[in-house]
Symmetry: C2
């Protein structure tokens, strides 16, 4: 059993890595987008109401570095600033249509790669197992 888990972790890690690489190939269509810019773009996409300081602590980089990358994302029209309704001193960030298009291109590229390496039957078995796992986890979270 234990050996199988060690093997599984290794395979899963490898697969994660190659899917990530394939996904990011979609970024070639956005030559101004650096790795650091994409990391922050992703973070804003998947988390609501992020402030610059949350981004800094989440990615473990300095506030000035975050400000510089946010400015580049804004200049490239990938994100826009928005104010908190209750406290106008607080600035959040949102993805623009162009920013969302970048994320969707990367996801599409991941999906296409997955389609090219697994067969239908494998996808079905894997999806069922992951689905069941996430259901179990939701139940645990709600307890």
């Amino acid at each position: 059993m234990s050996n199988n888990i060690i093997k599984f972790e290794k395979y899963f890690r490898h697969l994660s890595f190659i899917i990530k690489i394939e996904g990011r190939k979609a970024l070639k269509d956005y030559p101004d987008m650096t790795k650091a810019m994409f990391e922050i773009l992703q973070l804003i996409y998947f988390n609501k109401n992020l402030k610059a300081k949350d981004i800094a602590s989440n990615l473990d980089i300095s506030r000035p570095a975050v400000s510089e990358i946010l400015a580049k994302l804004e200049k490239g029209n990938y994100i826009e600033k928005t104010k908190n309704i209750n406290d106008k001193r607080v600035t959040y960030f949102l993805l623009t249509k162009k920013g969302k298009k970048v994320i969707n291109s990367v996801i599409k590229s991941r999906v296409n790669f997955i389609k090219s390496i697994f067969n239908e039957n494998e996808i079905e078995i894997l999806t069922n197992i992951f689905n069941e796992l996430l259901n179990r986890q939701n139940k645990i979270d709600k307890k």
Copy 2:
């Protein structure tokens, strides 16, 4: 079919993310280790003969930033410098015993988390599918 792949990509991405978070919890035992330091430590562990400029281009960060992080890793006794036998002007990096211990702690933490969320039967099915996939890929690479 297509819907299943989209679901699978999403589940896989989520699972990758939570396993990564759980793995990195092991880093609490190394409070001097920043996220950027760990990224570079990992890169050196999984790739032989990396030079500072390879690290910079791989992580898409500036050479001075890479040098600073490498100096911190060396100071913390996580990595050591080594010279190329054929060209003594070229410096590579290697993990020390302590550096390897960090990587192994993170992997162990990932393995323990996987063990806690999947059952034996699921691990076996997943491992078999991943194993078969990697065999197919190796065959393609060797063609």
